[in-house]
Amino acid sequence: MGIVTPGFGLIFWTTLTFFILLFLLAKFAWKPILKAVQDREEAINSALKAAEAAKAEMASLQSNNEQLLKEAREEREAMLKEARAMRDKTIADAKGAASEEAAKVLEAARAQIHNEKMAAMTEVKNQVAQLAIDMSERILRAELKDAEAQKAMVDRAMQDVKMN
């Protein structure tokens, strides 16, 4: 029976010891330990959350960058296109203007050539006529240097008139 009968002294001392231990540990051990553990857990959790947020921000930044890059690329593309079009247009314009000018110059040249040619022709005609007149004058002079020749000549002319 001895071992299953609780002794008063041991109950007294156990109660006292247990509660003193509870008080001391709760105040000086459990409180700081639990607080430190909880603080650390919170710190870890917040650090993890911050890391997650940073990651998300990074991802959004990256997608932003990509967007920007894409926009820039598009803009560049557009600018290039515009430049190319402008160049083509300029070239085309220049070509058109040049050919027109050339045609104009050609036309003018042609007209001038024509004029020159006409003038030259007239000149040549005039000279030929002069030459012909001179020649005929000389021939006439030669042929009509004596009276006999002149007489013959008139005769012949008379003959022709008569025939008519």
Binding site: T17, F18, L21, W30
Partner: protein
Amino acid sequence: MSNTRTYLTGLFLAISSSLFASSAEAEVHETLIHEEEKEAAFNPAEVIMHHIADSHGWHLFDWNDHPVSIPLPVILYTEKGLVVFSSSKFHHDAEGHHVVEAGGQRFVNIHEKIYYASDVANEHGAFAEMDHETHEVSNASPWDISITKNVAALLFSAFVILMLFLPAARSYKKNPGVAPTGVAGFVEPLVVFVRDDIAKNNIGPHYKRFVPMLLTMFFFIWINNLLGLVPFFPGGANVTGNIAVTMVLAVVTFVVTNVNGNKHYWGHIFWMPGLPVAVKPLLAIVEFIGIFTKPFSLMIRLFANITAGHIIVLSLVSLVFIFETVWVSPASVLLTLFISVLELLVAALQAYIFTLLTALYIGAAMHEEHH
């Protein structure tokens, strides 16, 4: 496999040699026993029960048939006030033969209980009146709040616990916000285990204010269990295998559980909802008894487990004295080692179970209705 074989061979060897030895020496031995006092014969039950029970004075060993023990203060609250004297004044007597006079009163120690001594000795030489049939002492006894062996062991383990956790707490204060180092690294997983797996899981949302109590309970039981397994001073006392100690712990559980019991809890005890009215009073009786049986089972479980462990270890150690041969010692040592390792597990397990069930009872008492 090989372990089992070694152990079996050792056991066989031990038993056979002991039988052989005892048969060879049987004649010499018998005459010796007859010549010697009967008390000289080894009685393992007596030794074990003496160890299991509490005592004034901490017995260390016997030297030349004379017990050597550490004297402890005997503190008595008598009819004439507090009386304090050393347990050595009893001269290792626990049979009531030796009367100690202190504070103008006379005391005897009968089986480690202090009584007011009778004026004359009875036929057994004890200064007490004994009932002839029940062998119970009829003398009055003072309130005994002595520092017994168990109390001393209890104080020592409290000291060990403080020396374990106060430095740990200090290391947290010293280096806040870093990974735990040293003793804190050892302590933290256990503290977190008690907080999360025992308190949070079983009590529910309001677990926080019970954590210090559960932590204290867990480590108090565990450290005392472990110190009880240390075979020499200042360990080896059967503190958590003493019903007074487990009773105090169980009472703490009882009080905390019922003080925190909500309307829902008491409603389920005295007027169980959803049952025919005729059954309700019957169930109320059962449930009311259940309030007491739960902590009672805690008290018995811890007491029985730890006491049983001590009894087994001592029985195995006693084998060598029971068989009266040293050849049984391999088996004795191996079995003791095996049981000691098992007890190491039991020490932690019982601390866990006690704390877990306490948390479970508190959780049940604070459980909110979900209908």
